[in-house]
Symmetry: C2
Subunit: 345 residues, 2 copies
Amino acid sequence: MPELPPRNDAVAPTLDEVAAAAGVSRSTASRALNGGLRVSPAAQAAVDDAARLLGYVPNRAARSLVTRRTDSIALVVPEPDEHLLSDAFIGGTLRGVGDALARTDLQLVLLLARAGEPSDRIARYLRGGHVDGAVITSHHEGDDLERVVAASSIPAVFVGRPFAAPRELIYTDVDNVAGARLAVDHLVAGGRRRIAHIAGPQDMTAGVDRLAGWRGALADLGLPAGALVHAQFTAASGEEAATALLAAHPDVDAIVAASDTIAVGALRALARAGRAVPGDVAVVGYDDLGAAEASTPPLTTLRNPVVELASTAVAQLLRLVEAAPGDAPVTSVVFPPRLVVRGTT
Amino acid sequence: MPELPPRNDAVAPTLDEVAAAAGVSRSTASRALNGGLRVSPAAQAAVDDAARLLGYVPNRAARSLVTRRTDSIALVVPEPDEHLLSDAFIGGTLRGVGDALARTDLQLVLLLARAGEPSDRIARYLRGGHVDGAVITSHHEGDDLERVVAASSIPAVFVGRPFAAPRELIYTDVDNVAGARLAVDHLVAGGRRRIAHIAGPQDMTAGVDRLAGWRGALADLGLPAGALVHAQFTAASGEEAATALLAAHPDVDAIVAASDTIAVGALRALARAGRAVPGDVAVVGYDDLGAAEASTPPLTTLRNPVVELASTAVAQLLRLVEAAPGDAPVTSVVFPPRLVVRGTT
DNA sequence: CTGTTAGCGCTTTCAC
DNA sequence: GTGAAAGCGCTAACAG
């Protein structure tokens, strides 16, 4: 039975103490603790016991100083606006990230941009080598994260297609173009012909792609270009946009909204205008993150698999981080859209 | 003009390189970079320039190895369940934390419990000294975080009153007891007398306190003990509970729900039962995190200031971390409740 | 005000 | 299989 050194409770035990307790050298203790390559069973057992007894937890700072790995990845949220934080987006994303990290012992560092602050701070952090990689979510055109990532050598995966250099930047996304087409097809199959779109912000590819899908579907079906208005991803903005839409185009019989929040606002505008849903006007939302199901009537919508998007992003990132020179290249992943039919169509 | 060493782009520049570029010793460079105490203006300028030119970013691992500070705090989410992640809770919490961290250069490490996993991993992490402090949110009775925190010396602040040792554990919370009383008072003022409660989970103090407030208010007002059912913090559970409630007590004229999600479910049950709201039955929710305003009709509710709760928790934590022996003790902070009257009362 | 000198705790050659 | 020694990048005495 090895002699145990006095336990200093205020300070975490060091590897030296574990080694001493186990009666081996620090090197052997280190090896034993890190997979046990070239360690005798006896030494291994002694070290394991000592570590457990002492409640040893390796000092990550010391380790990463020498390994040059931090065993942590960053989740970057460049614009924590109302939309992102109050919707279920961030929650779903966290769950996905958590799931993907579950089998690892990586830590998650959250990098939230601060209101009105250039992404400079985040860029410095990322290139400072403080994390092994980054998942970047809620990315807007104009914040220079794309450039930073492309320029630096930090492994990174975007959640949601970035604007530029799609060949070089890796991302996960749902096929927003196909999703919007699905919405139009569904509405047309339901007999609608005057299908309007309330587009989302065009500084996010989700907004751009959904608009493109709606437009493309109408064109492909030989339908006239529908009415188009723009909105932010909020109910208030959606309500306002829908009100304007109804005023300018009283004959619309369907609305494809760029998000469920927008659709909920549209529903309100329709109610105020005395239009029955789906009797007079059908509505399709986008995201299915809770608001769609909770709305009255429940929204027909397109599923945005944010949990899967996030967990896949982390999985790809880990591949990127671990990549050896000869490995198959890590690729972007695009999920197919799925229509969820409820009460508004 | 100091000679610049060749810039090695693959590796971040070290303090030595900055010092060499500035023509000073490493210590002087270090001092200059850390507030510039006892550094000549000339040296300071030279170091600043060199650091900027080289794009120097201090290595946190190396720094924290010697300072014994990590310059990061943890946000602990012991049970990232459906409720927490899909509601606006986590988003609001993140915003609050982000706000409070804005003036610091502390990093945020997110510790998410994994499904079915004992909080052991989190406990080890916290006592491993990997963070300077922790904010613990969504804490349930039974996860041993309280014990861990009380036993270890890690500075910690709970968001939401913990169960045990309230004297020793610091927290921020809204006064949930007073909030529920406010709800009852409001309903009574509106002429209601048969006021039921759909209680939340009793393994969270929010659920316990809201129940206590409802019960206490009825007693104080000399009203008979109202009908009581239990639910999880979800709409589906709330609907189920409300259905049972209406079956067992058809004469209720008001419901105090332990959360807005529960209230939304109750609204559905009432609609299905053909009871007009607020005509036949008034409903008060709790939280006002978006669901209340979005519901049809909009819910009267009690505001749960999650953003403030979180930012205050961080503020108190920073005080705790920085505390010098003689300082005034850091205390818990309890916010008064605020009733938001909308369409259901 | 400045430089020299020691480490912080850990992994990793490199001999044995 | 094991230990000795070196060093990751940084800060903090301590002399000067």
